[in-house]
Amino acid sequence: MNVKPILSLKELSVSLKIDDNYVSVTEDVNLDIHPGRVMALVGESGCGKSVTASALLRLLPKELVIVNGEILFDAQNSGTPIDIASLSPKGREIRNIRGNEIAMIFQEPMSSFSPLHTIGNQIEEVIRLHKNSSTNDARSIVVGLLKKVGIGNPEKAVDRYPHTFSGGMRQRAMIARALSCDPALLIADEPTTALDVTIQAQILNVMKEMQSEYGTAILFITHNLGVVAQMAHDVAIMYMGRIIERGSVTEIMKNPQHPYTINLLRAVPRLGDLEAQKRLEPIKGSVPSLFERPDGCAFSPRCEKSMTGQCDRQIPPQRQLSETHFVSCFWNSQKPTEDYVS
């Protein structure tokens, strides 16, 4: 890929600070997000995806600290990126990026708006903060945005309070708020997890439309592989705070190389499984706690391909399989595997 990434994570490590002890939450996360592309960050609950997302905007709670690495952000593709990891989390510089160049959508649409202020007020606020527009201008921008994300009767809706909105409408409004300053990057932290299935599909559609209209790059955090196949251009798979495999969506779906990725894809139910009387294959065991991180590859205790003496001693280095496909695993499957696309 010749275009420079707008966001590039270099060996980003976040730790949980308990008194004077540090417990690793994410380790050496490397990730490139390119302009106009959707990067899905996939993993089980607690694997560090949301922590990574919060770290990008320096929104981590104070007990979580960035201990190492860089977050290089280059909205204008100028070639001189800013290292977000070096900014003060309360300073003016990071505040100018937040909501303006990098916006975020959260998992809980029900609680992402203050119940005491109108939807319009809370979106206008972002516009007025970053773009010197007057109250009237901001208001008409908000009405336009609400219309775009599919909220009916937007002239009335701007003056309504969040508690009169349904979950799906609130998530639409959240998207409107996130896109209000036309950011270069949108971080979507499980934006559909709290919604029911039909609403999920609608919200994904809205996001896709907005993505193609604004050309915003998206970091899409999810544990839902179906959503990944639908939304993403690139995929990164995370396990216990490390990215164990990343590549384009076809590479990951058609040619997964890490045993964890392979297992994850096998665990997705597919049409036809019922007729074929196939059982879903769960991944054996469960994710160890942060305090019991296994030596070597964190997945090795659960891995069928684990090689004693190697996988449980050393952290596997990253291997490059194609221009975009990287895997961190000692096991090397040269033979092409079956088709995993659902």
């Binding site: 505040r95 990026i97 959260f106 203050s114 202020h117 903060l129 508690h163 009169t164």
Partner: protein
Amino acid sequence: MLHLLLRRIAASIVTLTLISVVAFFLIELPPGDFVDSYVSKKTQGGDIITQEEISEMRSRLGLDRPVYVRYFKWVGNLVRGDFGFSWEYRRPVSDVLAERLPLTFILAFTTLIFTYMIAVPMGIFSAVRQYSLGDHAITILGYVGLALPQFVFALILMYLGHLWFGASVGGLFSPEFEDAPWSVAKGLDMLAHIWIPVIVLGTAGTAFQLRTMRAVLLDELNKMYVIAARASGLSEFRLLMKYPVRMALNPIIATLGWELSHIISGAPIVGLVLSLPDTGPLFINSLLNQDMYLAGTMILIYCALVVIGTFLSDILLMIMDPRIRIGGVS
């Protein structure tokens, strides 16, 4: 909104009616009546009062009639604005109260303002700087304020006030202003005295509201909407004031009526200790002398203040919180 308002007004009227019943029977509750306490006072002074005189006095004051007749007569007069006659002072109740009630109101509302002016900013500070030195200091002060009985606190402050300022502590005015008509100088003189009763009456409430503010704000600070607002680039201070503080004010506003009732129920004892020229000492005396129309009127006024306070807090909540104003999902 209007519907809600009307319902609140109706509820307030019903509450006041019930309170009038309770107030009346409360005063009837202690054994004996005004005549008994009058007679015992007189005989202690060496006077001889015959049985005829006693029953003549009873029938003159209407005390020989059944309770409910007296109650309805009292309430009937109340509605017409006649609060009855104080037997002790031999003047209409409204006259007796007219001198002192304004001071009670001033004291109660000054205390209320003091409570919130101190509690809200300190609560915010305490929550934002949780576990800092300042937070611990405020917490300790708060607990001392809650634990200290008001009359002890009043005596301590009086002593300190005398020691440090040499002021004529006790009362609300310096002697030269006591009977003077209202003027700017008298107002200033009052401000120089009022801080002692205000601090005494307000400290416990301040400590309580401060803890409430701190606890609620700590909850709100980690809510999603705060993080979402931070993620859109708001500065910490603007963010704090616009969102979580507004939310945390709700329980503070909701307890306004309750806070007022605390202040008012503390006022008589503090008024007595500090010999304030407000209704506090008057109220206690009227109860001791079984001067029932005066006592009844005062109980009613105190309760009415609480009802009004609650009503005000309801209206404020409606203004502040659209969820209460507009109701459920439309």
